[in-house]
């Protein structure tokens, strides 16, 4: 047959023979892109040092992954954008004033210990950036809680330090917090824009929401985790956060401060370490929200988002096992078996 000559070049593989366009790299680089507004705002408020800290995190994360893998004669996976993302997220979770070795140590812990030693992307139990940060907070509690005052307009920052809104709320109460920012409206506006002390990338809620919108639009994240997480924080802040008894708290302050928006949209949604069934994700989000508020209201730290997500990371596999999506034809099967 005339066409036979070609036959030996044919590829044989199992169906399906066509695939969709999504790749891990495309997803990860889009997430990186979605954090660009928050990164820009961090430089805007905290000056060039913000870029230095975040850049150093990214560099150490990428390099440590690359050299770990090449030294084991494995293929370097830095092209998939996930090491970059871990570095970026770690950077955005640090204060501006940390000395240079903090980003390096944090990235090493995040990439080598939390991710690669567990088998690499897909096998890690905990969110790498958050473990990096938790390690730093425990090992360098002083350095990790010096908060610079935002200066705006990309200028180099002065040495003035201050407390974070959640810190003030915890130590001195809501009245003092409002007083410091002027009035309630000023407080909300500052929190929304990011004009307040805190970790580099967590302060500008508006920039974070912009990035989150991109991820939701592309379908890379769904509403399940962020919504249930944030709603739980809001309800608990309102119900339990006030001094005048039940339902006198100010949920807005709690929603706009700390690392909630960054955590809920960008860290709790980490595919590998959250449940993958949507119903389970709602449970996960509620758990994150509840633990966050328990720490914020009763715990020793002013902020609880990081520990909340890490704790819930432990439960993710359990949740996935317990929650099943509705199987086609499952209802009738039970009837059938009873017969």
């Amino acid at each position: 047959m005339a066409t036979e000559a070609k036959a030996h070049e044919l590829t044989v593989s199992v169906s399906p023979h066509v695939r969709g366009d999504e790749t891990v790299a495309r997803i990860m680089w889009t997430v990186n892109l979605s954090l660009l507004p928050a990164f820009i705002m961090s430089v805007y408020y905290f000056g060039p040092r913000a870029a230095f800290v975040t850049g150093l995190c990214i560099l150490s994360a990428v390099l440590s992954e690359h050299f770990y893998q090449t030294s084991l004669k494995k293929k370097s996976s830095i092209g998939d954008g996930s090491a970059f993302l871990t570095g970026l997220l770690l950077g955005l979770n640090l204060p501006a004033s940390v000395p240079f070795y903090i980003p390096i140590i944090g990235s090493l812990i995040a990439i080598v210990i939390t991710k690669l030693l567990f088998g690499g992307l897909g096998y890690n139990v905990f969110n790498p950036a958050l473990i990096g940060r938790a390690f730093l907070l425990i090992s360098f509690p002083k350095l990790m809680t010096i908060w610079s005052e935002p200066t705006a307009q990309f200028v180099a920052m002065d040495a003035k330090t201050t407390a974070t809104p959640l810190g003030i709320l915890k130590e001195e109460g809501m009245a003092k917090l409002i007083e410091i920012f002027g009035d309630k409206a000023d407080l909300y506006t500052s929190l929304l824009m990011g004009n307040r002390a805190g970790s580099l990338g967590e302060t500008s809620v508006i920039a974070l929401l912009l990035g989150a919108a991109l991820l939701l639009y592309r379908g890379y994240i769904t509403w399940h985790i962020p919504f249930s997480f944030i709603a739980t924080v809001g309800v608990m802040a309102w119900a339990l956060g006030g001094n005048g008894g039940l339902f006198t708290g100010d949920p807005i302050v709690h929603l706009l401060s700390g690392g909630l928006i960054l955590g809920a949209f960008f860290m709790a949604t980490d595919y590998v370490t959250c449940p993958s069934i949507r119903k389970g994700q709602i449970i996960f989000g509620i758990g994150c929200g509840a633990i966050t508020m328990m720490i914020r209201l009763k715990g020793g730290f002013p902020e609880g988002v990081m520990f909340a997500i890490l704790l819930m990371n432990c439960f993710a596999p359990l949740i996935d096992r317990g929650v099943k999506s509705k199987m086609f034809g499952a209802v009738n099967v039970n009837k059938e078996q009873k017969k």
């Binding site: 047959m1 005339a2 070609k6 023979h17 999504e22 891990v24 949507r278 009738n332």
Partner: protein, 436 residues
Amino acid sequence: MSKTATFERGIHPKYHKELASAKSITQAKLPLRIVVPVSQHIGAPAKPAVNIGDEVKRGQAIGSTTGFVSSPVHSSISGKVIAIADFPTSAGRMVQSIVIESDGKDEALSFIEHPDYMNLSADEIKTLIKDAGIVGMGGAAFPTNVKLSPPKEKTIDAVIINGAECEPYLTADHRLMVERPREVVEGLKIIMKSLGVKEGHIGIEVNKPDAIKAMESAASGESNIKVWPLEIKYPQGAEKMLIKAVKGREVPSKGLPMDVGVVVQNVGTALAVYEAVRFGKPLIERVVTVTGNGIKEPKNMMVRIGTLMSDVIEQCGGLVEGAVKVISGGPMMGFAQWTLDVPVVKGTSGILVLAEDEFVSTDQYSACIRCGSCIDVCPMGLNPSILSIYSEKGFYEDAKANNLFDCFECGSCAYVCPAKRPMVQFIRLAKSQVKP
């Protein structure tokens, strides 16, 4: 068309139907030689009923049934039997096949016609269908007369003709509905009669508006036949999904359509049933979509059963430079071929040739990142991610406990997976390692 019916989950692949959807069905050339496997269906293979050297005519039975779930095979040309031996088939197995060399005369047996076919009894209809060797032509190739003979305790109340044709690229059913709608409707009526069913449905995805129109007008005089526009979504044409869309019923896990009172037949099968019952014509030809960027001239062709793929491809201008993959069937569930010298059989709905630009290598895949996309799309509501991970680690029993055997290998999970994991391969591996 207002509301379109559908099922839950599923995917929206790129369809590429435009390559062949406007091409009218053309008659393929009389083949010089045919290779007819005795097993082109699910069930017991047929037994050769001829010997080497025998002269046969078009339509003559050359293999006879060997059990209840079995189907005879016929010669699609006139000529001489030159070999009976094992030959490769498009499903990748070697199967005993009868090779016939054409005498160029294309002489047919005289078939027994039934102009009054609607007056035949259910049993007479089923016998005609069985003797004509009709099997499901959508790909599964289950003997049709068996499907039409459900056990007594099952009450069937509806017949659905599957015109979804949800596989990308394929347009064979589409063309049949546009060009021969009346015969498809008659086929449906015969099937309904054989089952004693009052309700007939035809489900068609809305990306075939001309087919919907043609079928609607062909069925306009039949008050008990309804045409259903279906949402464009893969795998809309899977039996269980189609029944869910049209009748709202869920076939139970491990169950069959008849468990919910429904029989589904493909468009091509309905036509074959009509021709068998009305004209006594056995299943010796079928419409095959020859398509893909790897083929010079995409076509829909009426091809004699047993014609070699290489022969068909040649009649479509041959392969283009850089054709990399030839698939029997559609791109989602079809079989990749290692040789083109395999015959078109009763279940061959298409010959798809992918060029380099359509081809995706699946050699490189990475660990599951647990993104959940596959869970969101699995039409069976399974967790493909966990199935693939269990299979990868060799925990086949765990895979089984997670409803492994409810997977019908539609490939939706693999299509969406960003880590490009060979999901269906993992699932097949696990299935081969444990008992259902």
